[in-house]
């Protein structure tokens, strides 16, 4: 994984945790992974 990808993943993780906290919810590691996978799948081709 390149530095840009890693930074993007960290930003996504932080964003998910903050959004969930804003909604009054804790996030599990499993839920983070699942959400990241879904986000990755939703990306258009070549947007890696």
């Amino acid at each position: 994984m390149g530095a840009n990808n890693l930074k993007g993943t960290l930003l996504s993780v932080a964003g998910i945790i903050r959004e969930k906290s804003k909604a009054g919810q804790l996030v599990s590691a499993e839920e983070l992974l699942l959400t990241l996978k879904l986000e990755d799948r939703a990306k258009p081709e070549g947007d890696e």
């Binding site: 960290l10 945790i17 903050r18 906290s21 919810q25 804790l26 996030v27």
Partner: protein
């Protein structure tokens, strides 16, 4: 990373990690949510123990009907019945005030007489002696 200092980890009793942002949630609220995820019995017991230890004060049973607990009367009664048969909750006891309201306390931190006196003050005395 410095810009993510608000991201915190909290561990469940089974070792699982959960995460939250302190920008949007206090540590105390995160702990309460964790107890809620671990089950209503643990939530009730940990809340009662913390009230009995920290303040100290007995916990009105009705508090568990309010947010963020949101338990129904049936759920609360069912939890108390379940807790009464489990070893790890044997310190959770109850007293009733003179007007019939039930309070819970932990015998690890309060004795029965003191718990009753505090419950009576919270429920009746403070309103008669403003």
């Amino acid at each position: 990373m410095a810009e993510n200092k608000d991201l915190k980890e909290i561990r469940a009793k089974d070792g699982a990690s959960l995460y939250y942002s302190s920008m949007f949630m206090s540590d105390a609220y995160a702990t309460l949510l964790l107890h809620k995820e671990e089950g209503a019995e643990a939530l009730i017991a940990d809340t009662v123990r913390e009230d009995s230890d920290r303040y100290p004060r007995p916990t009105p049973l009705d508090v568990f009907k309010e947010p963020p607990f949101d338990l129904s009367q049936e759920e609360i009664l069912s939890c108390l019945e379940e807790m009464s048969s489990r070893d790890e909750y044997q310190d959770i006891s109850r007293v009733s005030t003179s007007i019939g309201h039930v309070f819970l306390y932990s015998t690890k931190h309060l004795d029965r007489d003191y718990a009753f006196m505090l419950a009576e003050w919270i429920d009746v005395g403070q309103f008669e002696n403003p």
